[in-house]
Amino acid sequence: MPDIVVVGGGLTGLMTALTLSHSPYQVAHIQRHQPIDGGETIRTTTVSAAGKRMLETLGVWQRLATPPTPIQTLKVADGEATIGTRARRGKAFGLEWQDRDEPMAFVVPNATLLSALERQIQAAAVTPLIDRTVADFTIANNRANLSLIDDKGGTDEVTCDLVVGCDGRNSTLRKSAGIRQHALPHKQTAVVALISAERPHQNAAFQRFLGSGPIALMPMDNNLMSLVWTLPKQEALRYQACDVNAFDKACTKAFGDELGFLTLQSDRLVWPLQPTFIANPTADNLILAGDAAHVIHPLAGQGYNLALGDAAVLLDILCDTFARGLPAGHLSVLTDYRQKRRLEVGAMSLTTTGLDALFSRMPTGVSKIAGLGMNLLNRSPAKSAFSTIASGGTLAPANLFAGRLPQGYRHRK
């Protein structure tokens, strides 16, 4: 009988189950095996420097089939691009962050990360409950009961102290537990694709805040770049369907000529953007993690880093709880998790949603002032503080973010 059951087979579910396998509790993992689809070869994940240390410690980084691309510089611009006006080109991406010696983040194709996680979890102390989905979540005698259905329609049940729900933005577990979610209206959609740039990206990540939404380019190998272009719903669908040449032109126009002409290199995916916020991502015997607990605007590529933080913080809490002789579902696990995740999740939700709203939805005057603020920021000490936060781990101190496992409990299993 497991103490903890992790639900979800995506990037977050696999990573969380693997992380918690290093706790002294018995861990089971419920997932449906899904073949890695084409979409995952186009979508990418940005992992902060702290997240990299965590994935190295978990043995995942070493299993990545291709080395992740480091981000050395983060370049930010606001307002329309200034194509052709050479005099102003230098200022096109006015705000520039560069961090010490260490890259601030890394870009990994989702498919590469998924297969590394899948291989690593096979070697971990996790009981796999494959090809099952959760039909119901109930509580009896301070323990959680999960009713499971397998692919052949067979039913099954598992009882545990703590369920960790990594079942995504439409989390079944969240709904079963009656946890309220606040979702912003769906007004924007992101167009996601791989493009190649005419000029070398020099390992810089780019963000341009436009009236219609931010356009972001993350560096990848072979001078490829991962495009996340946020647009009003209808416009996004139009750009997804339009002629390739027209897309290249529109994309280059929106981004500016910092990197020369941009050329589409993959299918175009659309991704509805609907940031969500949950005041309390816990209920009796249940903890939500990753997108089940918080969907943030993808503009800064921080979504997966929050999920890494959820897992790293939860591992530390569970090790302390075990050392106290308490069960994994103890009330203090829920309150500690809630308290320790509130700051980072809240800050990240506010920052990403706020930045987008500031530049995309406010009147031009307000955006101008904000743009001025960004220029000031460029010259202020706040800048180094922001770079520190961008490289991760600052708002979520956890052993794994420092590149180590919690000590003294590992060998107890």
Binding site: S332, T335, H411, R412
Partner: protein, 257 residues
Amino acid sequence: MPRGKSMKTTADQNEIANFAAMSEKWWDERGPMAPLHRFAPVRIDYILQSMRRRNQKNPPDEMAVGQAPLAGLRVLDIGCGGGILAEPMARLGADVTAIDATAEAIEAAKAHLAVGQLVVDYRCCTAEELAVESDRDKDKFDLIYASEVIEHVTDRQLFAEAIAAMLAPNGTVVITTINRTLPALAFAKFALEYVVRLVPAGTHDPKKFVKPAELRAEFGSVGIVLDDLTGFVPTLAGSFRQSGNLSINYGASGGWR
């Protein structure tokens, strides 16, 4: 040991009835005992710290595979209630004896053992009764703790004597209780009992609250030095943390002089 009418006792009969009414709710973490469940982590931390300070607990980095940190240690929980602290101690490997003067609480505690597949020697008796029974060297305890109990005791001197009679030569004593100050009164009496109604009205009698100096003097007179004090204060998250502020709830620990 017969319980004659003349037997001196430290347990107050009215208060025993009060807890008995609630014994079924002991293990509901959101029920009437929620404050004790919320308090458990910080209390366990303090108990383990006190043992570590006195070189009793097995340090985690030196433990053998499968060895629990309290393995081989005899622990006495006085006023165990439904076993909220006794169960974690058993899970950490200790050989736990837990006593409570309320039969219903002991029954609730025994019934709950099966849930965690744990072993605890629960007995319905007072500290003095157990002290008389176990007046032999082999029955001494390596750790004796009384958490949120001493403020319900009528004769604290007798209570300290009973503990002294059962404490092993190298043993540790840990007491946690409510201070007799205005903030403590406001918190324990009015906030807990009347405002948020976390515990039933009438649970606490402020006259029996104990100041740290009084507690140290009473234990000092039986040869036990309580040489460490820590405060427990509520946090905004609804749990408790250790603090230098002793004015509400505090813990005291020590051993033979």
